[in-house]
Homo-oligomer: 257 residues x 2
């Protein structure tokens, strides 16, 4: 399946640093993309989809590679074809905070383009991923050509905003223990489990990423995870986390009440 040129890509100066290590990858056709049902891109009319398909590029990113970096300027939007991505921001003390996760079918980096500004966050893969890049010219043409496209984009924005606001309240009001429980539930929600309902979460994050998602330091994260293990709420195997007691976690998360 992986048919790539084997050569390193070279890109415009803007993105040299961010994708310097990304390998070209045979681009999948949007027309027959398996993410079609979930992706905003693939809800376009036939003509537009063809245009996207023909103008886009595609790259294979190894685990941990940067897709774009805070402060640099976008020249296109990214569509995650396969894999998992974290979107994060670096705080004033150099510590990262993970804002959200993306899975196959989601688009990334459109906000900065809409705003006409530099990226306000970075994106990096958390496992090997295939990412398509749609040039900004195409993106703007889509916006002009399809009246409903911007509406759908706007809807995405409003959803992201609601998520962000919920997260703000959590960060402001909930202790680490509750936030971690919610984070685990959220990861299950986003990426699901590998197999059955009690099988490991279909994602493996470093303790640091998990801490940066919850908004705490590694040590506290580890201790709280250990607590959960002692309470038989979860089990861990290497980096894999298995939720043993969903209701228990929900209870710890203290949602509602």
């Amino acid at each position: 399946m992986v048919v790539n040129s084997g050569k390193w890509t070279t890109r415009s100066a803007y993105q040299d640093r961010t994708v310097a290590m990304a390998q070209q990858y045979e681009k999948p056709y949007c027309e027959s993309c398996e993410n079609r049902m979930h992706s905003i891109i693939n809800q376009l009319d036939v003509e537009s989809v063809t245009k996207v398909s023909s103008t886009k590029g595609c790259h294979l990113y190894k685990k941990g590679q940067l897709i774009f970096e805070e402060g640099t300027r976008p020249n296109g939007i990214f569509c995650l074809h396969k894999g998992k991505v974290k979107v994060y921001k670096t705080g004033d003390q150099g510590k990262d905070h993970i804002l959200r996760f993306a899975k196959a079918g989601e688009i990334l980096g459109y906000r900065s383009l809409l705003r006409g500004d530099a990226y306000s966050a970075s994106a990096a893969t958390i496992e090997d991923s295939v990412v398509c890049c749609i040039p900004q010219e195409t993106f703007f043409e889509l916006l002009e050509a399809d009246r409903t496209f911007l509406k759908r984009i706007s809807r995405l924005l409003t959803l992201d905003l609601r998520q962000a606001e919920n997260q703000m309240v959590r960060l402001a009001q909930k202790p680490v223990r509750e936030r971690l429980a919610e984070a685990l539930l959220a990861l299950k929600e986003i990426y699901g489990t590998e197999d059955g309902d009690n099988s490991p979460l279909n994602i493996s994050l470093s303790r640091e990423d998990l801490a940066n998602m919850v908004g705490t330091v590694i040590e506290t994260l580890v201790r709280t995870l250990a607590e959960f293990k002692r309470e038989r709420l979860i089990a861990t195997d290497k980096k894999k986390i298995r939720i043993l007691d969903l209701d228990g976690l929900v209870h710890v998360a203290n949602v509602h009440d």
Copy 2:
């Protein structure tokens, strides 16, 4: 200037509770609105502005009154003609968290309308305010009629989102002391000062609101304010806060590093 009917308004069942106390107010003409330069509404073409002006309603809200409430359904968007508004969300334990503030010229509640969903946050005035209400029919007509209107709305969304993300990182990584310093600077940024540069902030919040903005409890907020006073960074007179040492506050806020 205040020419109102003196009668309580009655509205549809949906909003009975939220605006039950708001008095009708002689609606100002959008065409000659003093907020024209700052408001997204007033960047419309003449025809649209007239339509807004003719279909909208206008109400006077006393300090502390609810404009809309989380969980209820929107049937229009609000444009703040005069006054100050807090937008907040109630957390799982019943404690509020202030998401942002609005000043004259800003519109409120358009997100839920775009999303076609209930409000995900509440809005209340923090001083006597005049708020115009544009019916959703008009709003949607504007979206259809003016191609650039949705673009501007989208831009607003992206800006709000960036703000929200910055705030998330602050809440996740900064101690109360730094967050309070940033909050005071933000309030100065939004509402300015009453007179000169060292005069009191042009806003007076209760300690509770301030705490809910910073993401802490009242007692901690009060103590940290007292700290700032001891360090001659600020002075307080009743609810009014005066910034004495801007650079000092910026330093405490620890922006950048």
